[in-house]
Amino acid sequence: MSVKFPVYPRQQVRLATRIGNWLLGGNAALVFGFLYLPVLILIVFSFNDTRSVAVFSGFSTEWYTGLSQNAELLEAAKNSLLVGLITTIVATTIGTLTALAMDRYRFKLRTTFDANLYLPIVIPEIVMGISLLLFFNQALFPFLQNAFGIRATTGSAYHHHLAHCLRHSLRLCDRPRPPGGLRPHPRGGRSRPRRGRMADLQTRDPAAADARHHRRRPVGFHPVAR
């Protein structure tokens, strides 16, 4: 008894592949068009000399001159920049520390902690916003008022933003390490060969070391630590 393999004529396969590639390219073009056309149109019509975003009647920069004279708007832009700056600094700092801890250390409830860091990304914005508003108005500010006599008002948009950014900065730090990046520490380290669990980290074979790294490691174990 023999298994019968179906045979596809080469011509047919080529044609199918070509059609498939065309479809894929067409899909990509459509998606990028969908994502970018509205924004591009908005940019083009920002130079329109009427309020319309459908009929381009003439080139003008009146909206931009109006923009530069609107004090309220400039103030808002300044605030945005400030919030962005502070957020970036704090989130990157905390995010880097946390990412280091997540990558280099194994501890109890690590996966739970990881999941807890994921929640702010997927949580619907309304739940996040409302819970923070409640937290600030119902808990933190009354607490500050009673304990220290500080009167504070809501700036919670900023904190919400930070919690969100923290998560994102962490994701960025949490990249796979380059292969072979796990040699013994250049400064110091052991002179005699290691035995047991840490043995092949000292070998010169980066692949083996890398494979070892990505396996589950016990609590408090790290190849670089002295």
Binding site: V31, L35, V53, A54, A101, Y105, D114, V127, I130
Partner: protein, 303 residues
Amino acid sequence: MLKFFRRSRTWQLTGLISPGALWIFVFFNLPLLIMLFISFVERGRAGGIKIPPVYTIENYRLFFNSCASQFSGPECNPFLYLGIFGHSVRIGLIVTFFCILVGYPLAYFMAKQKQVWRDALMILVIIPFWTNFLVRTYALKSVLATEGLLNSFLMNLHVISQPMNLLFNEFAVVVGLIYGYLPFAVLPMYTSIEKFDHSLMEAAADLGAPPVKAFLRVMLPMTLPGVVAALVLVFVPVVGAFITPDIMGGGKVEMIGTLINRQFGVARNWPFGSAMSLILMLLVLIGVIVYFRSSTEETRRGI
């Protein structure tokens, strides 16, 4: 002091992790706990809660039976809130379906390109992430508006004789949500397709599998973690979305997010809003658990 940290790995870990853990606890977990508390007390007269607090489960009952309120009239529909929730889930499913349907081929297309093109396309997918969500939504709105570009374009071509009503209905909300969340779907799928070894497809072809079968039996199962990630990352935020339905739906399309928003605004029923938020949170938790079950730490990276 430094020596101390150098010696003890436990202290190293504590030092590294405590700022992040503390931040997440104080500004994320604690607010949710407060929300949990508020969802179990009676409402105050003008918003807020009754002081001293009176404990009740009425807020949750109200969600499952909207006639439980004392204000409900005789022709009350008990499934009002459940219906809105179901409606949100339906919109979420439609949006997720289209995001994956369109996003998977796009991710595949990107993964097939040369490195230079791949990076360029990747940046094109990421830029919408960096662009203000409101700006993008308003941009889409201006295109779909009655006097917008699409309508005037089609009328100039004499495809239609009078402008279509493309805004302020469910269609607009779905389009707006797909527009907003498509990049969220593409990125995780791209990550897993890029890792997929395409020689496996050749192997499948050599063993006699037609392309469709090879895709369904080899490529799809192996890139499934990316698809599941896309599913969770799109579905969960979309169900709770409230900005897009507000802008694109013009207050005519009710979703659970807009409903919650209203409880803290005009309706002034904080406890009920909190209860609904927590019911929504349950959905989020299920999503995250599904995601964590279906992925390993390796596949979760890069999202």
